[in-house]
Subunit: 417 residues, 4 copies
């Protein structure tokens, strides 16, 4: 064995690896959620912020500010119920057209379309799984209308989260509800154009507290497969029971060709919707690692690595909205950059030898690397602030937004966002 | 060993034990929460019910109906912010006086007083632990005002739940906040009359998602001891991490003389606020068993067994409110009756012998006993419906309430209850 | 609505429903685990029992005693490593033949065959997912040999649990390991005769602590489907993260035609391997309800309801082994009898009306019914002791076994069972 | 607000802060567990390593090697049952004397003394809480004998972990057992010399699966207070339910003057005993931060900050023992160094202003700093290898140990370590 003292120390990153990592980072787009800029809260109430967005235009302004500071967020996901109706004055399609135009004006495009089949009173017994066929029809129609909106705004992703479930033993038949989901999703899938992907989200509980119809990745994957070939699973990093190994699920879904994308956030307990990487940054890093390693393996095998959507889904009850979003984007970039730095060849070798410590150190070395200086330089070369969060806190945007929006503010009532 | 075939079968309850159990049941008062009759929901929205209570008078009407059907619920806990202001037209004390009178008219009395120091915008950074001394002052003043209300309505319980906590690592100093809680609670305790008990609730998370200042029984117990001799711990059965053994905590607190009472409900995942006994009835039974066994031991030792308050705290998003509450009371009676049936002498003996199976069967035998017939007879002898839930579903109260309240209904916006 | 007072009280079970329930109970076979009669322990040590089985013959004697007392346990699952080698003196097939004969002599048959690919030192890096092809070969060969044993003893179930996984981030490639499992299971499936079922178990953790290759039902189901048409999922009730809704998984797997059977036990925290129904009997009842409801629906639709294997898998560190097993069988019978008593038509109706409380009460009514008297009568009519547990504790079998086995006892060292 | 571009970038650590951090690091002693060098396993078996320690001398040799490479581990905790009897040939005190001498010869001292009152068959029903007074006596005597050993070897810490608990509802009386613990611990405390600290560990489950008598920090703290003034709580970082906020508990105990020390390790699910910082390094960092911040506050107030013991308690089933321990020490040093780098004044300021993002960034900045170069230099200045893990993997110690120990190896049977 060679003298360890002769090798370069492990904390020095080889420039070639750093450059490859930056190339990959260059392609990392992080989609912003329009609802992340509005006042949100918990069931115990909302704490209101003067600078929080009220109208969809506000949300687009805020998203544009985040993109201006980070250069990584050209797309904004929208919530049909909260954004499209409130955007245009006429029919839904008209509203969608205005929305797309409003985004374009700000240098943005519309990302995933999020229908809402959980908030209206009619959905008390669920949407696609409702016992009442007329409610199921209404839900399906809304989903199909959302496809029309997506076409109009140039989006190719229909992002579906269902609150369907039950609160009590005996309340509902798991199998009957499952069959209705199969049927409804098939119809929606058929209505999608060939370029569109259906992203199917799962969640173990809340707002249903005994079971949720799409409770875990296995249920979402089963139903996605029955819906059709363009249905994939959406992993919200906060939608798992404590203890579940999220990166393993990610790797499993990648291998099955069933991973469609992410809703990023972090949590300590349940679906806490905290800032990505704020509680367990090493876990976020390991998720990114599964993706980049999969891409490398696919490239080696000459196979395509299907695109995986990176979307943020957070609910900042207390943090200033734009500031929190910039913090999120920077954190995601830092943690993914660390993942891109992992020496995959050494990792392969250590794994094949069963050398656990050496394999683990491949991850630890990359994670321990301080990527902030190289990111600052990379940003500067692109005309971006080297420290977008500092810039955001200093540039007066939030104060101006607060001044402009305060007069329009009203009570904190109403729904989630 | 005697021939097992000669003994009475285990499923036959000895009449003397049954009668003692009924005597104990006779003394079981279950306090109703006024907020349990109003529309409540999750952060994703509320599903409204025509028959749900709007005003405090409505809530008292509903509580009186539950008491009329069950005979077990003479007291109603109130929420200061939601009940007292909306009750009277003048000052708070005036409102309290009206409230007490309104309760008395309906054959009820006011139970625990629940202040609210979490909903106003000023509590964004917490209440007693807020960095801003003026907010701490405001919170303390509200608690002291609640004591005045309690005196006015003849209540001897101040029930405190704090939403204080933090969402992010670094956000707040655990120790500094703890010191402020110690100080504030001491001042509030000093303001209480000698007959009043302070009930201190704990909760691991929600609405705070990184830590809650009073996160577990240990923190609540520590702070209660520092507050003063009349401060005790309130156990909300849904405020525990998954896996926590609640009945052990109950027994431990009883032995320390620190158990003040319960908020009953059930849950599958987190603080789901489901109907008591709906998810894990055997656990509820075991909690009742700890209490009745403690009472027996105290009686044997000639020591007093301090009173333990049995209060309901549930949030029925989907079930009809009055119906759900009657179902709750019946369930609590059935499960506690089973606990009262446990043969404590045989249990003692089996435990002292280390005979695990025999000890366990003492619990299983009591739990397997169908107590519904004896409860029906016991109710009938008191002029109550033998099956209160059936009576509730058949008697038209909910329909009449819906008809009367529907016109007063408005949007589902606003706060928790 | 009819006058509730005119109806029969809810606590009276209609005789026709009771009889149908007993008919179903008649067909409930509960398979015993041979390893459940031996001394087992935790990683902190074993507490030895004089009466615990040492040899495979001892285990069969004990199983026969349980069957003699309950009449419900004609089959015994075996563990190849612990039972077959130690049984015969010659080759494995010879050992299997002796084993089958020994079982037959005692009025038993051999149930599921459980290979062991986790205990030998060679499996340090896993079995089917091992990096080393020679270890994978060895594991596959053992599984195929187990098929031969199964054929020899007349068993039609190959029950597979894999300890494969990783302890540390970076240690292993999830996707590469998954591919090896796919390959290995396919080969084993091909080696099975047409009458044989492969039961594939999942477990979230232990003995692997970062991830287990077959961590949840979704992974087991995916791999079972790739293995072949006779591979199904085995649900061990203790192999779930806290909060997971097991009965929903059961219903989902039933609907997918992928539920092969159960390992019954109970737990408070993790894979605690406690007596079935000892911690959460209502959950066990709900699992049985999913099965009986599925059978009813299949019968209505004129479709076959594939058989589901009911096997016990418990580890009684402290309870006497035979006694604990009799207690288990009685508990399973009681809880499943309650499930068989559920009024499925009323449940259907209440669910279709969205009447949550009425639907829930269908379950609660059945669960509250004391089935012990009817079970005692049913047993007596079959010449069985009315109270098998009392009979077991009184009949001296354990004392005799202890006397006979004590001299053969040695140190508590060695493996799990 | 000043121009952000004029300030030094956040990723540059001020030299003065770095130097203060190194000063604190200088005083960080990490105590090694003798049992961490022996073959350990799970209940499913042990994977044996040629180089694993067999005798206590082996363990001391291994500990000395770790100290030689890291310079941070002068003390070794011992397990009385596994180390003292096997060490000397005569009486226990004689064995202790030999042990201390053997440690001294290797440049080590003996750290915490860990009695064992869980492994012997007599402890089936518990130790201090056993129903049988003679077993309680035996357990107390062993603890008192351990104090004698501690005196003999110059240790001032008695580290107590109890496996006492119950597996089934009904098995045991929580309150009666609690009283026995109070009594037993008082007697043991009285037997301790004035210089000795009793460290009381808690654990929610395993090997007891229904409840553990000392299940959480609240129970340990309550019992420690009743034992006497020199009894403190020992926090094993893996002994918490999922979701529990460990750093909050640490801060709370510090404020109560009740934190005695740590058993460091990491986990994904339960008490997995994985390498410290291997699963959630940010959590470990936050724990260190609570300690250093407490020390700073105490210094400011002119109060003493009582010593907190940093001990490792891990079970490496698969990793090479010495290598894993060196990896652990380096990881603990890196993560604590990051914590020492946190700008506490800025953190105070941001917290007092309610500036959540700024407060959080104080932590994130320190955590993102790559401390490996400065640690390498600091080690080099002390004549230590700059990269102790690389040195350990290269220096041949493990190969030599394997060669020397292999002939002495036998079967993997027996107890935990």
């Amino acid at each position: 064995m060679p003298d360890a003292s002769e090798k370069a120390p492990r904390f020095e990153v080889h420039p070639a690896r750093r450059d490859r990592a930056l190339e990959r980072l260059e392609r990392l787009e992080i989609e912003l959620p329009s609802w992340g800029f509005a006042d949100t809260g918990t069931r115990f109430g909302k704490f209101l912020q003067d600078a929080a967005a009220i109208s969809t235009e506000d949300k687009l302004d805020d998203a544009a500010e985040v993109h201006r500071l980070t250069g990584a967020c050209p797309a904004v996901a929208i919530h049909v119920l909260w954004d499209v109706d409130g955007c245009g004055s006429g029919a839904v399609i008209e509203g969608a057209r205005s929305l797309a135009a409003a985004a374009k004006t700000r240098g943005l495009r519309i990302g995933a379309i999020n229908p809402n089949v959980f908030q209206d009173q009619c959905y008390r017994g669920g949407s696609l799984a409702n016992e009442d066929p007329s409610i199921r029809r209404r839900a399906i129609d809304h989903l199909i209308e959302s496809i029309a909106i997506a076409k109009e705004v140039g989006s190719d992703a229909l992002s579906l989260w269902f609150a369907d479930g039950a609160n009590y033993p005996g309340q509902a038949c798991v199998r009957r509800r499952k069959r209705r989901f199969e049927e409804g999703l098939r119809e929606v899938h058929e209505a999608m154009p060939a370029s569109m992907t259906m992203l199917l989200e799962y969640k173990p509980f809340e707002p249903a507290f005994y079971f949720t119809d799409l409770a875990d990745w296995g249920m979402a994957c089963t139903l996605a497969r029955k819906a059709g070939p363009r249905a994939k699973v959406l992993v919200d990093t906060g939608h798992h029971l404590l203890g579940q190994n999220v990166e393993q699920i990610v790797a499993f879904l990648l291998d099955e060709g069933m991973l469609g994308g992410f809703h990023f956030n972090d949590r300590h307990y349940a679906d806490d919707d905290l800032t990505s990487g704020s509680i367990d940054p090493y876990r976020a890093f390991r998720i990114f690692l599964e993706i980049v390693r999969f891409e490398r393996d696919a490239a080696k095998a000459g196979e395509p690595a299907p695109p995986v959507a990176f979307m943020i889904d957070q609910s900042h009850n207390l943090k200033p909205k734009v500031e929190a979003m910039v913090q999120t984007v920077c954190t995601v970039q830092e943690l993914s950059m660390k993942a891109f730095l992992v020496d995959l060849d050494s990792l392969d070798l250590a794994q094949s030898r069963g050398d656990i410590v050496a394999a683990e150190e491949c991850l630890k070395d990359a994670f321990a690397t301080d990527v902030r200086p190289v990111l600052a330089a990379w940003r500067a070369a692109r005309g971006l602030p080297g420290d977008p969060l500092e810039a955001c806190r200093a540039n007066g945007y939030a104060a101006a937004a607060a001044a402009a929006r305060r007069p329009r503010k009203q009570s904190g009532g109403g729904s989630y966002a």
